[in-house]
């Protein structure tokens, strides 16, 4: 088996006539954290959303090229989008738990995938909350509304909710941008923990964060992938002048 969990080949992406991504090629290595950086509007979030086909929900979008998951093209008609999203979980920028209890939030995914047995659900909920480093804080109030949690707790709950369907890849779209530094540190520790079991792709505005959490980094600029390499290489000795300008804060 290849070391790449997913592989993006010659990907073009359009919003109507606007070409938002131009010929992107990225391998996403198994059990590694890949960070995507770049200024606002560079296409990094759009790219992330092509990996679990969330862009399908937007009218007038078009994808060309291949996105492979375990070697199979996720945009081919044989690949079921529901099955894909089960395997490729997503955590959004804003913590967005459902207006349900903590327990029901985590149990939501397993339930829709047909698990009804309560003992089994209890197990999954506990395991997922532990996986998201939240269990100790909420174990005595699993039936309270998730909306009563703090922002950082809500975001970890969303991670737990994503883990509960046992994904193989975890996409994170600026997961800490709405959080304070303490909560951000917790999320970053969690990412380091999670990569043992998952392949992680994270979009971030914070270059320090990319440097801290990722193994590989891609720099996007106006729909182009300017540079993609080991994180150390990108931050210490970038090959492209534009990358250097960006990470040294000369623009963006």
């Amino acid at each position: 088996m290849s070391k790449n969990k997913m592989e993006v080949k010659n990907l073009d992406f359009y919003y109507d006539d606007f070409k938002a991504l131009k010929n992107i090629n990225i391998p996403l290595e198994k059990n590694k954290v890949t960070a995507l950086i770049g200024p606002s509007g560079c296409g990094k979030s759009t790219f992330l959303r092509t990996l679990n086909r969330m862009n399908d929900l937007i009218d007038g979008t078009k994808v060309e090229g291949d996105v492979l998951f375990d070697g199979k093209n996720i945009y081919s008609s044989e690949f079921d989008v529901v099955e894909l999203r089960k395997k490729v979980g997503m955590v959004f920028q804003q913590p967005n738990p459902f207006p349900k209890s903590i327990y029901d939030n985590v149990a939501y995914g397993p339930r829709i995938h047909g698990i009804k047995n309560n003992t089994k659900l209890d197990e999954i909920v506990e395991k997922s909350l532990k996986g998201a480093a939240l269990f100790e804080e909420v174990k005595d109030r699993l039936n309270d509304s998730a909306l009563g949690l703090s922002g950082g707790q809500q975001q970890r709950l969303c991670i737990a909710r994503a883990l509960a369907v046992k994904p193989e890849v975890l996409l994170m779209d600026e997961p800490a941008s709405a959080l304070d530094p303490v909560a951000t540190a917790k999320i970053e520790d969690l990412i380091a923990e999670l990569k043992n079991n998952y392949t992680i792709v994270i979009v971030t505005h914070s270059m320090q964060q990319a440097a801290r959490v990722s193994d590989l980094t891609g720099f996007f600029l106006m729909g182009d992938l300017v540079e993609f390499d080991n994180t150390d290489k990108i931050f210490e000795n970038p090959a492209d002048q534009r990358t250097e300008d960006y990470i040294t804060g000369r623009f963006g």
Binding site: M90, N96, F98, C158
Partner: protein
């Protein structure tokens, strides 16, 4: 400089008070209606009035058949209109592509809300009473009233569904839920308080409608209570109309009309109250 500031503050004050005046004027009109109806009608209200049959050519006795008739008609209308309206709204907001077709349908629905209710009455007469041969009956009346409130329910449901944040939909779909699972488990529960409000408004409107039931369900006077959905019925608003316009003893019957109006008002307020309580409890359940 100083005087400019004073002038601005003065304008602010004047505008504020004018706006307040308009608000109080509207509330005063509402208050006057309620006060007037109650003053003229409360005298005839008694247990006997709401629990017995009319007597002596509707110059004495009660309005039980009209209360029951209105109850059957309104319940029937809600029963028919709610699923139809809610499912139509779900289709429009969740499934249909935004575009010209949906805009046309939406304009159609809004226009349906503007059609005079007597026209619905004629439609009901032609279609339900004659074509389907349901006759002048609870069934025909309830179906006609259902059409009257359909636009209200569709619009309220649509607004309720659209106010559910897209993040809920996205996070559900991102977990591998299908569209219907997402709607059923996340979108609808969050939209139910708003949908309920639509139904409340529908009930309020439909309980007082007279024109749509004149040709389709209502009877002037009935000696017995309805015993099937195909019975014709008395109804509160039509009873008021009948007492006022066609009575032979206006001095006896007009107070009865006001009494009936009181009952109708109280009934509508009660239904609204129940629905509002349901709504508050539901949104509390979600928040906790």
């Amino acid at each position: 400089m100083e005087s400019k500031l004073i002038k601005r503050k003065l304008t602010e004050k004047v505008i504020f008070n004018i706006l307040g005046l308009f608000l109080w004027a509207s509330i005063a009109i509402l208050g006057m209606i309620i006060f007037f109806i109650f003053k003229r009608g409360i005298g005839v209200i008694s247990w006997e009035f709401i629990s017995s049959m009319p007597a002596n050519g509707m110059t004495e006795g009660g309005i039980l058949p009209a209360i029951l008739g209105s109850f059957y008609l309104v319940s029937g209308a809600i029963l028919f209109a709610t699923p139809l309206g809610v499912f139509a709204a779900i289709y429009m907001t969740e499934y249909a592509k935004r575009g010209r077709m949906i805009r046309i349908i939406r304009i159609g629905v809004n226009n349906l809300a503007g059609v005079p209710s007597v026209v619905f009455g004629l439609f009901g007469l032609a279609v339900f009473v004659k074509y389907f041969n349901f006759g002048v009956s609870i069934l025909s009346g309830a179906l006609t009233l259902a059409i009257v409130i359909l636009p209200t329910i569709i619009r309220a449901s649509e607004e309720a569904l659209m106010s559910v944040p897209d993040e809920y939909r996205e996070s559900s779909l991102a977990l591998g839920a299908t569209k219907w699972q997402t709607i059923k488990n996340v979108v609808l529960p969050a939209a139910i308080p708003g949908i309920l409000t639509g139904c409340i408004l529908g009930v309020g409107r439909v309980a007082g409608e007279t024109a749509p039931i004149i040709f389709t369900a209502a009877t002037f006077f009935s000696m017995r209570l309805p015993n099937s959905v195909l019975s014709e019925v008395m109804a509160l608003p039509y009873h008021i109309y009948a007492l006022v316009t066609t009575g032979t003893f206006p001095e006896k019957q007009i107070p009865l009309a006001y009494g009936t109006a009181v009952v109708l008002l109280v009934l509508v307020l009660l239904i609204n109250l129940v629905a509002i309580i349901m709504r508050i409890r539901y949104s509390k359940k979600i928040d906790n």
